[in-house]
Symmetry: C2
Subunit: 298 residues, 2 copies
């Protein structure tokens, strides 16, 4: 299978085995000038790694997806909104195509080949620019009734709280994402500061930065506590660029998890870091492309 | 199958068909004086409706359950905590026994025989003394990795908010349950008021009561919005005694759902009232008892 991670700045395409091993991969910039340029770029990325053994292609895209029609909906960063991506790429490539939300793809990758190997009930939270989520429930990926799930970044954490980019209020994404941390850093340290600066200052021991990250971590703890009470999962996997803040976030998060999560699930769940890093989206997109073939063979 | 709904004041036991039809049923008071008296009462309730055709018994209990050991944990209202209920009742009755959280049981009943017939992805929210939840995902009941899921009343709705009976803060149950409405009614209308009085006054047009119920409804809307974004369900079923407040709660809830829930799932989900009323727990407990037999036969 070929997996393609469609990012806001670059496209990562690779050939991936059923076990999630990357056979070869290639990176290219994401053409953002128009929808047509992007589709050309995606086709070229696939052709750059394609050979005769490839049976299908999976695209991981930063967008909610309506799987009923294979359309990407409401993507913040790339010109894909309303494009019938599945059908268009299928016609261009002459191969079966699957499209998948990028956070779902990362969860599938971690489940098959990363931190979640061997689990049946796993929740993955990706803390990046936004907050994405992926669920493995009962030993398979869960996507909801129209394939638009699961948007764990858009769970309400503070009723009537901060405005979210989606139009909602008080969503997890408005408090524990890289974008939220950017805004918090700017407010505390001036217009040039951002999440990276906030983490750097906290690592150097700046007490304001430590406390600001701790407060983000406490909110993350509430969000994770809710996930534990909702799913009674074996495992919660934390990934994404902002998760690199590590214990500065996770130590305060654990204190709040201990308060919010119920026994006995709070004693049985494990919370771990993602293992696959930046290749998770590509690997998961390829693994998602196996699913319809497996279903057809079954 | 026999289903037994173990309530805080009464036990409802009945013989239930695979389609969820109640063949016969009997009600008895719940003995709360001791664990032994309760177990005697449960056994007597089953024997009161038992005949030779009954193959198994399901108990729906107001408690989180650790299905690994068949033990009821952390029940607020009845002396069952730590009792190995499944094994004890199995030994007493000489029949296979299943134990199930009461809100999960209600969800299974609505799915098989009530408002959720024919759905694959359904969320049920029971607004009673507390708030319970049940999930049908991918065409079967979801209970989590140790069977302690799903506690939708203990999702954080307000980070660092009101204390919850479980020790957490700002949980859904602290804002939209009958108990929460009791407290709100007392604060507004004096020590003798309760949720029933609040709903009665609102029906009569008392503006304070209408606004207080509307605020509870708006918080319910945030909670439901989160469920839509998390599960992308076909259907959300609202049941429980406090749901009898009807449009006084649901009209304001719908306004907030429209703000919090994402497209396209917000356009595809339906939100409906439960159909089975007070028999849902008993019916669902019986239906849950079919599952291990079906699994063994498959």
């Amino acid at each position: 299978m070929i997996g393609v991670d469609v990012g806001g700045t670059k496209i990562l395409a690779g050939v991936v085995s059923r076990a999630g091993a990357v056979v070869r991969q290639r990176e290219s910039p994401t053409p953002l000038s128009s929808e047509e340029a992007l589709l050309d770029g995606l086709e070229a990325a696939v052709r750059g790694v394609l050979d005769d053994a490839v049976a299908a292609v999976g695209f991981g895209v930063p967008s909610r997806i309506d799987q009923r029609v294979g359309v990407a909906i409401a993507s913040a960063n790339i010109p894909l909104v309303g494009v019938p991506l599945r059908d268009v790429m299928q016609a261009r490539l002459g191969l079966p195509v699957v499209i998948e939300n990028d956070a779902n793809a990362a969860a599938i990758a971690e489940w098959v080949a990363g931190a979640g190997r061997g689990t049946r009930d796993m929740v993955m939270l990706t803390l990046g620019t936004g907050v994405g989520g992926g669920l493995i429930l009962g030993g398979k990926p869960y996507r909801g009734s129209i394939g638009a799930g699961v948007e764990l970044g858009h769970v309400v954490l503070v009723h009537d709280g901060l405005p979210c980019s989606c139009g909602g209020r008080g969503h997890v994404e408005s408090y524990v994402s890289g974008t939220a941390a950017d805004a918090i850093a700017r407010e505390a340290f001036g217009p040039d500061a951002d999440a990276h600066e906030l983490v750097r200052l906290a690592r150097e021991g700046d007490p304001t930065a430590v406390e600001l990250l701790a407060e983000i971590g406490r909110k993350l703890g509430s969000a994770i506590g809710s996930l534990i009470n909702t799913f009674d999962p074996e495992l919660i996997v934390i990934g994404g660029g902002f998760a690199a803040a590590g214990e500065l976030l996770l130590a305060p998060a654990r204190e709040v998890i201990a308060r919010e999560a119920l026994k006995p699930m709070r004693d049985s769940v494990r919370i771990v870091d993602a293992e696959l890093g930046t290749s998770a989206g590509m690997v998961g997109a390829a693994l998602a492309a196996f699913e319809p073939l497996d279903a057809a063979a079954a």
